[in-house]
């Protein structure tokens, strides 16, 4: 009999607890797919928060996601979010945010409080993508690509490896950005999304110090930057020889670097491995000879060497460290706390040695 009582009690408890509790049904929820933060135009308010809310019906066959934008001016994201609750009839769900866009003007001030908010909030995916939006996050979010299947997926699939893979993008996720803020010896590099009249364009990388945006790279520099950090699979360079101009597709490019203690100065030695195919030649010729291929390899190596050195010195002059030389130095020395002071003196004097090895493997379908 007592066991019956227990079973009855447990069943009763289950029945009491089952009907939803604090759950809200799915039709009473609004799914936010992207969030943007801009500088506010209203005097007295600092930020303008834009939430992109998906109105998708969940049919995978249709394209063109419909969405609505909620905007509000406030001094912090939390204030804006709590105020926005009174402007919508649905529960706002932040768990599906795929992209976080930071307006250019906000990025020029201080991004640390923003990162703090997003890392603190448990419902936000820590692997969502961060990017700088130009001219404003509102304009980027407002853009509605017709081929988009789920609202907001356009922006996020630019960065994933499953979608299009551009050599100009080095993606940064939320946790990665926060780690680069906290960790000593490595800084943030964030892709820039530009809203033009008819399309979105992501081919520049912005470099940050621990606090705000410091410089932006050109598309060519961005490609080199990606080669130095993540490596590229779909790159492209243009080479000029005596025989004419050639376009080379880079099928695979990888970089490793080492810090070496020279006699007086510290050296950063880069080993770059590239291989590619000729994709286009500008002037008509009978056939491509072996000699020309070797010459092209030489040309490519020289070009890469010059470009990489130039980029590294440019970054060094601004005292930024997006590649993580400082971290590498700390990780290779015992008791890093003492070395930290020294590193700040070493970095401006750091010498770069670039050793590219380029291999042009073929000429694709025709000679």
């Amino acid at each position: 009999m007592p066991s019956f009582c227990i079973v009855a009690l447990v069943l009763f408890l289950m029945i009491v607890l089952l009907p939803g509790c604090a759950y809200k049904p799915i039709d009473k929820r609004a799914f936010i797919t992207a969030i943007g933060i801009d500088e506010s135009n209203t005097p007295g308010k600092e930020l303008k928060i834009i939430l992109k809310i998906s109105l998708s019906k969940g049919d995978p066959k249709t394209t063109g996601g419909s969405f609505t934008l909620l905007t509000l001016d406030a001094n912090s994201i939390s204030t804006a979010i709590s105020l926005l609750k009174s402007r919508t009839d649905k529960e706002l769900v932040y768990g599906h945010i795929k992209a976080i866009l930071i307006g250019e003007n906000v990025a020029k001030k201080d991004i640390r409080p923003l990162l703090d908010f997003f890392m603190r909030n448990p419902s936000i995916h820590k692997a969502s993508y961060l990017s700088v939006a130009k001219p404003t996050a509102y304009e980027v979010l407002q853009f509605n690509p017709p081929e988009e299947q789920v609202t907001g997926s356009f922006v996020s699939s630019l960065f994933t490896t499953t979608g299009s893979e551009s050599p100009y993008i080095k993606e940064v996720t939320l946790f990665d950005a926060y780690r680069r803020v906290t960790e000593a010896g490595i800084d943030i590099a964030m892709p820039v999304i530009e809203a033009n009249e008819k399309n979105l364009q992501v081919d520049k990388i912005a470099l940050f110090n621990k606090k705000n945006i410091q410089m932006a790279l050109t598309p060519e520099e961005s490609q080199i930057f990606r080669l130095l950090t993540k490596g590229i699979h779909t790159g492209h360079i243009r080479l000029k020889t005596n025989d004419g101009t050639y376009d080379v597709d880079i099928a695979n490019g990888k970089t490793k670097f080492k810090l070496k203690q020279g006699q007086e100065e510290t050296l950063a030695v880069f080993r770059i491995n590239l291989n590619g195919y000729i994709s286009e030649k500008m002037e008509y010729q009978e056939t491509l000879s072996e000699k020309i291929l070797r010459e092209l390899e030489m040309q490519a190596e020289n070009k890469i060497q010059v470009d990489v050195k130039h980029l590294l010195q440019k970054i060094q002059k601004k005292e930024l460290d997006p590649i993580g030389f400082g971290l590498r130095y700390r990780s290779r020395h015992l008791n890093p706390n003492k070395d930290e002071l020294k590193w700040n003196d070493i970095y401006p004097q750091l010498e770069f040695q670039v050793a590219p090895e380029c291999k042009i493997k073929g000429t694709e379908m025709i000679d």
Binding site: K126, A127, D176, R180, K230, G324, L327, R332, P336
Partner: protein, 361 residues
């Protein structure tokens, strides 16, 4: 008597629950100090404890701690020791219960109040902890086996992820020259002391061969290093100290693009909650068994009185411990636990010695 593999399950559940719960946070407190050397020292201590414990226990096949101590130690000491162990096991359970409530509130159902979550958990735990020891062990086997694929996925993702900064992990290793400190050592050794439920279950589990001890030791070593180093690879050596739920943020940082769901954290949470509740059940079951061994008069009623006290104390703990102080409580608890484990070893050693003398004479 049931299979020897249950010994490994006991070690396994303790190691995973501690590693996912609090051990990393306590170790990260001294990440610029003696954590790495503490971990290495703890590995040695832990393996030594495992081997010593089993060598003593194998001299008492099929006996629980009460039967071992009977006749060798004075009655008051035996009771005191059992009561101490009862409270220790109970507290262990309560800490995990409270932290589990906080975790569920934060991640799964933020709209629900703490009280309701707590009541639901208690309803499950109280009734299951009163089951037979055999049933508890069978339940343990089931709960422990399910999440293994998820853990393997996470390890695999870590090994292939290009967002991991290996320099941060190496930097963590550069602090190896600092001296170990006690609280890190106590926390890290905790991974290896999953054998304590054997004081109860020695009756159920057959004597354990050496091979199992080696597996348990190597497994503990592996868990300890992965639970310390993987979050550093994702969150950075400086950032890792800021996190409250280190491992959940780490799994949330992994992107499984071609997996069933984008955010693996919810799959992990599901198993983590299950396995932690199982651990609480195991702890409270041990507590109740210790109570049974003390044998204060009219055995059956005392159980319900004890359960009542369990519930009241747990509710009080739930009410008074908040997210920021639970780590401090847990550090104290682990410091105490290492000392108590060493005491336990001395008691067993003494008992075994007396037993031998009695045997010879």
């Amino acid at each position: 008597m049931i299979g020897r593999r249950f010994y490994l399950y006991l070690m396994y559940i303790n190691a995973w629950v501690s590693a996912m719960g609090f051990i990393p946070q306590i170790l990260y407190k001294n990440r610029f100090g003696g954590s790495i050397s503490s971990i290495i020292l703890a590995t040695l201590t832990g393996m030594l404890l495992i081997v010593l414990f089993q060598r003593q226990m194998n001299k008492f096949p099929g006996q629980n701690i009460s039967q071992i101590m009977k006749g060798i130690f004075p009655e008051w000491f035996r009771k005191l020791f059992l009561i101490f162990n009862l409270i220790l096991m109970y507290c262990n359970g309560v800490y995990f219960l409270v932290s589990m409530t906080q975790l569920v509130k934060t991640y799964v159902i933020p709209n629900m109040s703490y009280v309701w979550i707590f009541i639901i958990f208690l309803a499950l735990i109280v009734f299951s902890s009163m089951l037979q020891s055999d049933s508890i062990l069978f339940m343990l086997e089931f709960v422990v086996m399910l999440p293994i694929p998820v853990y393997l996925f996470i390890i695999g993702k870590f090994l292939t992820d290009d967002l991991v900064i290996s320099d941060s992990i190496l930097e963590a290793m550069t602090y190896i020259l600092h001296w170990p400190n006690y609280s890190s050592l106590a926390a890290a050794t905790c991974i290896f002391t999953g054998y304590t439920p054997l004081l109860i279950f020695n009756k159920q589990i057959r004597p354990i061969p050496k091979k199992h001890l080696i597996i348990a030791g190597v497994f503990g070593f592996f868990v300890l290093f992965t639970c310390y180093l993987i979050p550093i690879g994702y969150l950075g050596l400086h950032g890792v100290g800021k996190e409250v739920f280190v491992w959940l943020t780490t799994t949330d940082s992994m992107r499984f693009e071609n997996f069933l769901v984008d955010r693996t954290i919810f799959i992990l949470l599901f198993f983590h909650i299950g396995i932690s509740l199982m651990f609480v059940i195991l702890c409270w079951h041990s507590s109740l068994q210790f109570l049974k061994m003390i044998k204060i008069k009219n055995g059956e009623n005392i159980k319900w009185i004890a359960i009542f006290f369990f519930l009241v104390a747990a509710s009080f703990a739930q009410y008074s411990i908040d997210e920021t102080s639970i780590l401090r409580f847990f550090t104290w608890f682990l410091n105490l636990r290492l000392a108590s484990d060493i005491t336990l070893m001395l008691i067993l050693w003494r008992a075994a010695k007396n037993r031998c003398q009695a045997f010879v004479s």
